[in-house]
């Protein structure tokens, strides 16, 4: 009996370490990615808003473009009314600023849902780990 229990305890522990905790790590990574994307979109949103606020009057602005390795070249955007948005897989779609804002909002909402899902999953795996730990304790506590 004892050896059996020992075996089971070992199995549970290995399961926690090898499966559940790995899952948890993956989920966390995903969550981080999504969070960063959301942050980017939020930033873009604010940028578009500022362009909208200023751009209507000046109709154009100057920036510095990074060519890579921090080599900057001065660039001038003459028409600030349109913006290209990444819709995935390397495709860009041209939107007006207002449209872009709508699209960005939708994207952000989507990401937020994903985040909620991920949170749930993370919670679940955490719960699994805890349950198994309690089970192990029970197995050992009975004897």
């Amino acid at each position: 009996m004892e050896s059996n229990i020992q075996k089971k305890v070992l199995q549970f522990e290995s399961f926690i370490n090898d499966v559940l905790k790995q899952d948890l790590a993956v989920l966390e990574k995903k969550l981080d990615e999504i969070n960063s994307e959301i942050a980017e979109f939020l930033q873009l949103k604010s940028v578009i808003n500022t362009i909208k606020n200023i751009g209507n009057k000046a109709n154009g602005f100057k920036t510095k473009v990074d060519m890579g390795n921090n080599f900057f070249i001065q660039a001038e955007v003459e028409n600030a009314s349109h913006i290209l948005l990444d819709i995935g897989l390397g495709y860009f779609v041209e939107f007006t600023l207002d449209e872009a804002l709508v699209v960005i909002d939708i994207r952000i909402k989507l990401f937020e849902r994903q985040v909620i899902n991920l949170r749930k999953e993370i919670a679940r795996t955490n719960a699994h780990i805890k349950v198994i730990l309690i089970g192990i304790r029970d197995l050992q506590g009975l004897d």
Binding site: I48, N69, Q74, L84, F92, A100
Partner: protein, 491 residues
């Protein structure tokens, strides 16, 4: 390590490639005044735009500092950076090679193929350790006992009187050898001049020996010293003696000295015994000494050959010192005879010595050495004590007149003149008479050395002393020497 290395290499290659790309881009840009482009806004968005001021490039030089360059300057910067990165890449490449070879080597040479890497394991119990300790103690005890035995043996050796004397003789011999070696080189360079020095040194040594022999207590001390000396000598002994034997052919003097030493030691023995009758015994002991050690024996051989030379040379060279000098190497042998005669004649002619020197030429059965025995005569010494005259009748008077006790104190300039005159007179007179007188003096002084038993070589020494004595007056000793030096200085 290799992984890290690869990471670095990747990073730097990327860095280099990016710069290359930038160079290309810059070259393109420099061709055109302005360029349509898409300006990235964040990661996810782009904007249509135009590149303007293509000749102006803002470059980051790190730490948030930027510099405005022209395109050409920027390209130069890029090239520099590429060069730098390539150097770094080279280093990393070398590192990678090293690491790889390090990994490969053990595999190639089968370093771990056999059981070379087994641990060395020794099992020790408490009990075994104890056993070992006991054994160790036992062994140590045995060792100690052996040491003690050895020590005891050594001590025993010295305990008997004969051994003691033997040892003393040996010690003296070694001492002499050591002294000799210091002088050997010079001797070859300037043979005649050297002889003077030799003889200078020798009388001193002999003086020492005389003192020792006169006082038994001193003897003990001496013995002790010699013991210490022996320890030192034993280390160098073998080499020195070997070389000495090699050199004996060239420096016949050495043998003389050694013999002289032996004789002195014999004198010691004699004094201790206070019996002249035992002289022969002593001579026997000398021979026994010779036979006792191999070294001595070898010397004996040398000596015997020397004496043979002597017998050959003597008839033709008698009384002719100059020729002997010119002879050089054979000098020792030839020297001895005539001077021996001289001394003998002095002792006979001038009757101031309180002992008569008896001449005995003994040819040893063993080694054919000619030995001269000086024995005290029955004639009472005639020393006129209350002679206040300035007339010089015999050597004693000279000593009395010219060798007045002198103060050690420095002379004041006042005294100087007065002293000078008198001294000058002294000197002149002395120089006139010195020859006769001082020979006498020396004969007298050396007499102590030669007291009873002298071989012909011994006499040679005395004679050489005599030659020396014009410069160095032994009985007058230190004070007079000092004075002479002073005079020289004044002159």
């Amino acid at each position: 390590e290799i992984q890290q290395n690869e990471k670095h290499i990747k990073k730097w290659t990327q860095y280099r490639d990016r710069h290359k790309q930038i160079i290309e881009g810059l070259k393109m840009l420099s061709l055109e005044l302005s360029m349509n482009c898409i300006v990235p806004i964040g990661k996810r968005a782009l904007m249509k735009g135009k590149l303007k001021h293509t000749s102006e490039i803002l470059t980051c030089i790190g730490d948030g500092y930027f510099i405005k360059y022209t395109t050409q300057q920027a390209i130069a910067l890029c090239n520099r950076r590429i060069k730098h990165s390539e150097e770094i890449l080279k280093d990393f490449e070398q590192e990678r090679n090293l690491l790889e070879t390090r990994q490969m080597l053990p595999l190639v040479f089968d370093a771990f193929e056999f059981n070379n890497c087994e641990n060395v394991v020794e099992h020790w119990d408490e009990k075994r350790l104890e056993d070992w300790k006991v054994l160790h103690k036992k062994k140590e005890k045995e060792y100690r006992q052996k040491l003690m035995k050895l020590k005891c043996q050594k001590k025993q050796k010295i305990e008997t009187e004969d051994d003691l004397f033997k040892r003393l003789d040996q010690l003296e011999l070694e001492e002499e050898l050591a002294d000799e070696f210091n002088r050997l080189d010079e001797e070859h360079q300037q043979f005649y001049g050297e002889h003077l020095q030799d003889n200078k040194i020798q009388p001193e040594l002999q003086e020492d020996m005389d003192e020792d022999s006169s006082e038994e207590s001193n003897k003990e001390e001496r013995e002790h010293e010699n013991k210490i000396y022996l320890k030192y000598m034993q280390e160098n002994k073998v080499d020195k003696i070997e070389t000495a034997i090699e050199n004996t052919e060239r420096t016949p003097d050495k043998d003389n000295k050694i013999n002289g030493k032996f004789e002195v030691s014999i004198i010691k023995e004699d004094k201790a015994n206070k019996l002249l009758d035992k002289l022969n015994l002593c001579i026997d002991s000398v021979s026994s000494h010779y036979q006792s050690g191999e070294i001595e024996r070898q010397k004996l051989n040398n000596q015997s050959t020397a004496t043979q030379n002597l017998s050959n040379d003597v008839p033709c060279l008698e009384n002719d010192v100059d020729i002997e000098k010119s002879k050089g190497f054979v000098k020792r042998v030839s020297f001895a005879e005539p001077h021996f005669v001289e001394v003998a004649s002095f002792s006979h002619e001038i009757n101031e010595n309180n002992k008569e020197e008896q001449l005995v030429n003994e040819s040893d059965i063993d080694n054919d050495t000619i030995k001269i025995n000086f024995t005290p005569s029955e004639i009472e010494p005639s020393i006129c004590k209350n002679n206040t005259e300035t007339k010089i009748m015999n050597p004693d008077d000279i000593y009395r007149i010219f060798c007045k006790p002198k103060s050690i104190l420095k002379k004041s300039p006042d005294n100087e003149d007065f002293n000078k005159n008198t001294r000058l007179i002294d000197e002149s007179i002395k120089e006139q008479i010195t020859k006769d007188i001082e020979t006498d003096q020396i004969a007298k002084s050396t007499y102590n050395l030669v007291v009873q038993d002298v071989q012909n070589r011994k006499i040679e020494e005395t004679v050489t002393e005599y030659k020396e004595s014009n410069n160095q007056n032994r009985p007058i000793s230190r004070f007079k020497l000092e004075r002479a030096n002073l005079k020289k200085a004044f002159k």
